[in-house]
């Protein structure tokens, strides 16, 4: 049986951007219904795995030191995206990021200075006490207090387009079908990174070996429907943000604990036991995001990080224990690598290491010479048992393809005109600002700022 629901604002997606939109629309006086794809226990999209938000400020705040100015933030965005950013929208995000901490607190969200062990963020990023899921809990509790409705386990199965906008939205829950008629719709349903079929269309069978770090509910269904309905796209449809994660991680939802931080301390080999990239190119926080792609380009999309006992205690503990062995040959057998190949690679590496004074906190002078590829920092012979090995896979964080929007969060159609009553926020439109690359905490900033804009614009339209 299909039931009909009429509401001022329908918000498709119950992550950070969706909840911010819902709350902002409600503050405008509109009635709001959030359609969340996940069941209640897994609500919150990828936001439940996040931990911080990047925020500009001209003077020290109670959470952040010094200043992080508008220009510096914009410069950072331009740098990491290689210029693939809409500067008008980027500047809007940056400017409005200053108000995000107060907005979060106004709904009971709790913030703290950066966690210990997170380098170089104490000037730029506020952290959520308990992480993104705790923040989502605060938003959902606030939504309930304010009378915002939430449908869980609810898949959007169709958008009925009419008059340049969405007339109604079809939603399926395990035991119900609902047609929602709304004066305006906010699209906040994320990217398509957990849609394995879609990934396969781009990456072929390699996609079978990808691990999805976040929610399995970001199928890109709403994104697909909008593109099919003539919305303008933004961002490279084939690209995703990926880091190297432990190959033993769950297929979905492994979140932060599956990451491995020991790459720069040792060597990384592929399944032929051969090195393929300079592990010591730069500080790990600046390089961890390239290793997802590097591993994705290796045969069978797998690689192995190998360190020796000298590195124990120098990196964040991983949730999976290392494969440990008393010899390189034995380690190779544990990792199902050719012992001869791995022994050859390690011996060649050890021979090429030049003497230096090891210091993991600076770009030190420990490097190899005469090796292809070289390791340019933190190169020390791998000679002290026990030897540790971690298998690596590409772990996909998010996809870049999205919907083009204007500064009022209105979705732009291929005609060049904004859709009549459709707004977008969060990952589904982050590609406008983040055409490629990433800088810590900016996803949550974009979601919060554009969630507020979208909710506010949609709410104002509905109650006008």
């Amino acid at each position: 049986m299909v039931s009909d629901v009429a509401v001022d604002i329908a918000v498709l997606g119950g992550g950070n951007a969706g909840l911010c939109a819902a709350l902002a629309a409600r503050q405008r006086g509109a009635s709001v219904l959030v359609i969340e794809g996940a069941p209640k226990t897994f609500r919150g999209g990828n936001s439940r795995h996040t931990r911080n938000l990047r925020s500009m400020h001209d003077a020290p705040t109670d959470l952040l030191i010094d200043a992080y100015t508008e220009d510096e933030f914009v410069t950072d965005l331009v740098r990491v995206t290689g210029g693939r950013t809409d500067e008008v929208l980027a500047r809007r995000v940056v400017r409005d990021s200053a108000a995000c901490p107060a907005w979060i607190r106004s709904f009971g969200g709790r913030l703290q200075p950066p966690l210990k062990g997170t380098l170089h963020l104490d000037r730029t990023n506020v952290f959520f006490v308990g992480g993104g899921k705790a923040l989502m809990n605060s938003y959902y509790a606030a939504a309930e207090r304010l009378g915002i409705g939430v449908m869980y386990d609810a898949q959007v199965t169709g958008l009925d387009m009419a008059d340049g906008g969405i007339r109604s939205t079809s939603v399926r829950q395990p035991a119900a079908e609902t047609t929602i008629t709304a004066k305006a719709v906010v699209l906040a349903a994320g990217g398509f990174e957990s849609n394995l079929d879609w990934l396969k269309q781009i990456w072929g069978d390699a996609a079978d070996n990808f691990i999805i770090r976040g929610t399995p509910y970001n199928t890109g269904a709403v994104l697909r429907m909008m593109l099919d309905a003539g919305a303008q796209s933004v961002g490279d449809p084939s690209q995703f943000h990926a880091v190297a994660v432990d190959a033993r991680a769950p297929k979905f939802d492994g979140g932060i604990v599956t990451r491995l931080d020991c790459v720069s301390l040792g060597i990384v080999v592929n399944r032929h036991g051969e090195r393929f990239y300079d592990e010591g190119e730069d500080f790990w926080p600046k390089r961890y995001a390239i290793w997802g792609r590097l591993v994705a380009q290796q045969p069978d999309q797998i690689a192995y990080s190998i360190v020796d006992a000298k590195s124990a205690g120098l990196f964040m503990p991983s949730v999976f224990p290392p494969m440990a062995a008393a010899s390189i040959g034995e380690l190779a057998r544990l990792l199902s690598l050719s012992p001869e190949a791995l022994e050859r690679t390690v011996a060649a590496f050890n021979r090429a290491v030049r003497p230096g004074s090891f210091d993991h906190s600076v770009l030190d002078d420990c490097r190899t010479t005469g090796l292809t590829p070289e390791k340019t920092h933190w190169a020390r012979p791998i000679d002290t048992p026990p030897f540790w090995g971690y298998p690596l896979r590409p772990g996909i964080t998010f996809t870049y393809l999205g919907l083009k929007v204007d500064e009022r969060a209105r979705v732009l159609m291929t005609s060049g005109k904004p859709a009549a009553n459709i707004y977008a926020a969060g990952e589904i439109m982050a590609g406008n600002i983040l055409g490629q690359g990433y800088v810590a905490g900016v996803g949550m900033t974009i979601g919060t700022v554009f969630g507020r804009i979208a909710g506010s614009e949609a709410g104002a339209r509905a109650v006008a």
Binding site: G117, F127, V129, K133
Partner: protein, 351 residues
């Protein structure tokens, strides 16, 4: 005892937590965890006793059930705490009591105490004068022995809980006022206004009722101590006026010990059961019931001390007090001892 499986489960949970660290700001458990890269038996028990079961980290956890990692820190640490009580227990053969110490056992002990006290009654129709019913020296003898045993057992437990070689950083001298943290229950609301009872449901009541219970207990203890000093040092004989110090302390304390346990009982039922260890329901309930019966009978005794029922009431009250006393080292009471010990350890770990 902490089974190898339980230890492995606790270590799994702590390993996931230590690789995530999102909960760092909630409480000392996570701060102490982060100074370690592995978790030996002693570390797990230390962290378990450092946990105040405020509950925040379960709802914040991206890996909480039904996630396949199945992380429930409050539950696992609660289970470990019970095992640590058994491990630290003196004499060791009494450790089995923690899992058997239900309401029925405690009430039986109280009744047995009453039956044991009854033959000592000198006068069945005395009014106002408790010592006419049971002589002062007899009371001092019985409760002095029981008290000395309880203090010894708790002190040995405290010593044992501080004993395990912890793999954390060496002592850097007191960094935080651990006793103040214990007395204010700071970590029951360290991260925000109050501790949780469900997703985003935070109220101060659990802490308020705990304060009523603890300080009520302390005032009752003070009342008895002052009365003993009146008797022994100054030679002032009971009964003391309603406005006298021992009676005032006892009345206020008794009221706290009435309101506190009743409140804790109601809060218990409102709390998300996922936050606790169901195996400890009997342990919790029996302590609450014994405290409650002690205060109820004590207040009744005070109100009816000039009536004919006084001698019987006195025996009933003393029976509950004695029953409460002898179960202290083998019941919920020890949580205060071991948590304080853990806070002391935490305060001396260098951060």
């Amino acid at each position: 005892m902490l089974s190898p499986e339980s230890l492995t489960e606790a270590q799994h949970v702590l390993t996931v937590c230590n690789a995530c660290r999102y909960c760092e700001a909630y409480c000392p458990v996570f701060q102490a965890m982060e100074t370690r890269t592995s978790f030996a038996r002693g570390d797990v028990m230390y962290l378990a006793n450092l946990c105040h079961n405020c509950g925040e980290c379960l709802y914040a956890c991206q890996y909480a059930p039904p996630h396949e990692f199945g992380i429930n820190v409050p539950r696992v640490l609660a289970e470990t705490r019970l095992a640590s009580y058994e491990e630290y227990c003196w004499p060791a053969f009494m450790s089995g009591m923690f899992r058997q110490n239900g309401v029925a056992v405690s009430l039986t002990l109280a009744v047995v105490s009453m039956l044991a006290l009854w033959p000592l009654v000198r006068s069945r129709d005395a009014v106002d004068d408790f010592y006419a019913v049971i002589p002062h020296d007899v009371m001092v003898g019985i409760f002095g022995c029981a008290g000395a045993f309880v203090v010894a057992a708790l002190a040995i437990g405290f010593y044992r809980s501080r004993g395990p070689a912890l793999s954390g950083p060496a002592s850097g001298g007191p960094k935080r006022p651990a006793l103040l943290d214990a007395l204010t229950l700071r970590h029951l609301h360290s991260s925000g206004p109050d501790c949780t009872s469900d997703v985003d449901v935070r109220t101060p009541w659990r802490r308020y009722f705990h304060h009523c219970t603890f300080y009520g207990f302390a005032l009752c203890f003070a009342s008895t101590t002052v009365a003993a000093m009146y008797h022994v040092v100054f030679g002032w004989r009971a009964p003391y006026a309603y406005t006298s110090l021992p009676v005032m302390l006892g009345t206020i304390g008794g009221a706290g010990l009435l309101i506190g346990p009743l409140g804790l009982l109601s809060q218990r039922n409102r709390r998300d059961p996922k936050l606790g260890d169901p195996a400890q329901a009997g342990l919790d309930l029996s302590f609450i019931v014994m405290l409650l019966m002690t205060s109820v009978t004590g207040l009744l005794l005070l109100a009816l001390r000039d009536r004919g029922a006084m001698p019987a009431l006195l025996v009933v009250h003393l029976g509950f007090v004695l029953g409460l006393f002898v179960t202290l080292p083998y019941g919920k009471f020890v949580h205060g001892i071991y948590r304080t010990a853990a806070l002391l350890t935490f305060s001396t770990e260098a951060h």
